[in-house]
Symmetry: C2
């Protein structure tokens, strides 16, 4: 995984080149986002950011995450019925396996699947722009070894 510092610099560069400002709030939000667990909801990011600066508002988190997503530095997900979650876009493409028992999210990637879906799209006359592949299932190990819970 890329260095969080590198992502912060990329964010700053993105803002600067667009004539936007790298404010204290945006830095704090990006920091907690890149240094914490993946797949965070806006409220989770807000809580983490407020630990650094209590006055930060939800709208600022909302708009900052939109900026990060537009800059290609964060990815938006909507797993199951949940609200939007953000994930740092700091490594290669991957898909997700979601435990229906504890909510734990495992990332995976599979070249065979990737190649096949290109082929399928091609046969249907399509050029792939992006895709989303989520597997929902249950961990076979009991007790479930994944401690993270779907929060918020």
């Amino acid at each position: 995984m890329h260095d969080a510092e590198q992502r912060l610099r990329q964010f700053e560069a993105h803002l600067t080149s667009a004539g936007l400002r790298y404010t204290r709030q945006r830095r704090v939000i990006a920091e907690v986002f890149y240094s914490s667990g993946r797949h965070l909801s806006l409220n989770e990011i807000l809580d983490l950011a407020r630990a650094e600066q209590a006055s930060i508002g939800f709208a600022t988190v909302y708009r900052t995450m939109k900026l990060l997503a537009e800059a290609g530095l964060a990815l938006e997900h909507r797993f199951g019925e949940d609200s939007v979650r953000y994930e740092p876009a700091d490594h290669d493409h991957h898909d997700h396996l979601i435990c229906t028992r504890c909510g734990h999210i495992i990332e995976f990637e599979d070249d065979v699947v990737e190649a096949r879906q290109e082929q399928v799209a091609k046969e249907l006359g399509f050029r792939v722009a992006s895709h989303r592949h989520e597997i929902y299932g249950e961990c076979l190990r009991v007790p479930c070894p994944h401690e993270q819970q779907l929060a918020d």
Copy 2:
């Protein structure tokens, strides 16, 4: 694709066996749902149903589609940023390829992908309960031959 009539009978049987009622509204909603295009939003279903019976309310469509989904006769989807869409569960499992230009939705299935994802989950110690695989892309043919628009 299964006969729409068959699905209506299954719905009626499901309701009856649960002590629920097969009302005019439920019949109308199921009829338009099974005889029309796939992947309809609740408002699209409402419009179609109101063409048959103008007094039908949104809440009735909402609750009826929930019933159909619980009965396994309809599938809920949430493509991209859209609201929920329903699809008749009247044939084998398949995934979706969504045109980012016109919103047209093509169904596909690929045994290689299906088999690989079982394998991936197994390697990670998971049993697959369900999955969702959506490819977003652009149709290479110009003009786009798909006339259906993402409505509502």
